[in-house]
Symmetry: C2
Subunit: 198 residues, 2 copies
Amino acid sequence: MPVLELQPVTETTERLVPLPVEPQLRKVQDDFIRKWGEMGAIWGINRTMAEIHALLYITGLPLCTDDVMDRLHISRGNSSMSLRALCDWGIIRRMHRRGERREYFESLSDVWEMFSIIAAERKRREMDPVLETIKNCIKALEPAQIGKFAKDDAFIRTRQRLDGMEEFMSVTNKVFQQFIGNAKSGLNKVVKVLLKAL
Amino acid sequence: MPVLELQPVTETTERLVPLPVEPQLRKVQDDFIRKWGEMGAIWGINRTMAEIHALLYITGLPLCTDDVMDRLHISRGNSSMSLRALCDWGIIRRMHRRGERREYFESLSDVWEMFSIIAAERKRREMDPVLETIKNCIKALEPAQIGKFAKDDAFIRTRQRLDGMEEFMSVTNKVFQQFIGNAKSGLNKVVKVLLKAL
DNA sequence: CTATTGTTTCAGTAATTACTGAACATCCAA
DNA sequence: TTGGATGTTCAGTAATTACTGAAACAATAG
């Protein structure tokens, strides 16, 4: 938890979209942002990035780098890099206002679409390589490769475990694939099927 | 990545279940363990814990603390604490051999069951609290609470975003619940339904 | 061109997380 | 009841990750 408390004194070039001021609303938004940040941290997304995304999502407004810095008390560098990363993920978008140089950022509004983007990316980056490794492991234990060890208990056990894991990950992968493919706005096909069938 | 290289010289009180020796098998297992560890790290589970689990899973054998220490080059303390944490999760089990004081640990063998346990726990620990926060946020923005702001754009936008997120998380929660409830050995009901319907 | 405004980058540092090793606790056989 | 084998805990430290702040860079207007 950062120690920083000083509120940077912004020599305001006032913004077209000012930060919300009503304390009631602000409190609600802050609660959401904090919780979303915590959850992100647990799932391997750094807290600040999750918080920035939460801020853009919850306000529903396009905000600029300075808005984010001020509202979350983070540095310009951090703001800039995290915003870029979120753009790379594809869950926020750069925006320009007519006749203004400053860049604004806004979150996608459809949660299903966001989740689907994240799922696709994590599958690609993290599950696919594991599945490939497992398949290679299985190949390396084929009778042709291990010769006389083909009947060795230890080899057999490991082989069985790999098979179990491979089945699991293949199926999971397919489910992901389906989810990703069908996700456009609102409850998607996968979820509809599930809710109906269960 | 730890720098440690020294292989502790174990004054072997030889083990009933010796570490596997065949280099071919060992290499396959190590590949799997490394990759599983990486994946764990990305998903917010510490690498060592994931590796220990991978080791127990892939060998299919009950191993003792020293086996784990030696095979993964980690300290006794680390070993002990990580094994306990895995037991707490419920994806490995303590085991005793007749007439031996030493404790052994073995992994569950059913991947579906393991995944279901993990899903249940993460839902409980991480999703439920977020959903609760969101519901509280929504309550705090009900007309009765905010009076004259009920028609304020900023309030309305935030309210809509919260609603969208709430819907998403509720449905996700239900799907998780189904998965968890039905997961016993082999492809469970949820997955069967999905694969048939798609 | 050069002043102004806004953005990106990154070396250095702060904060967090993971790990070790040694002290301590427990059990059991002799 | 003592000693070795095993298990647990935790203060201190190592390794990793996140963040800052300032400098470099880019775009635009005057």
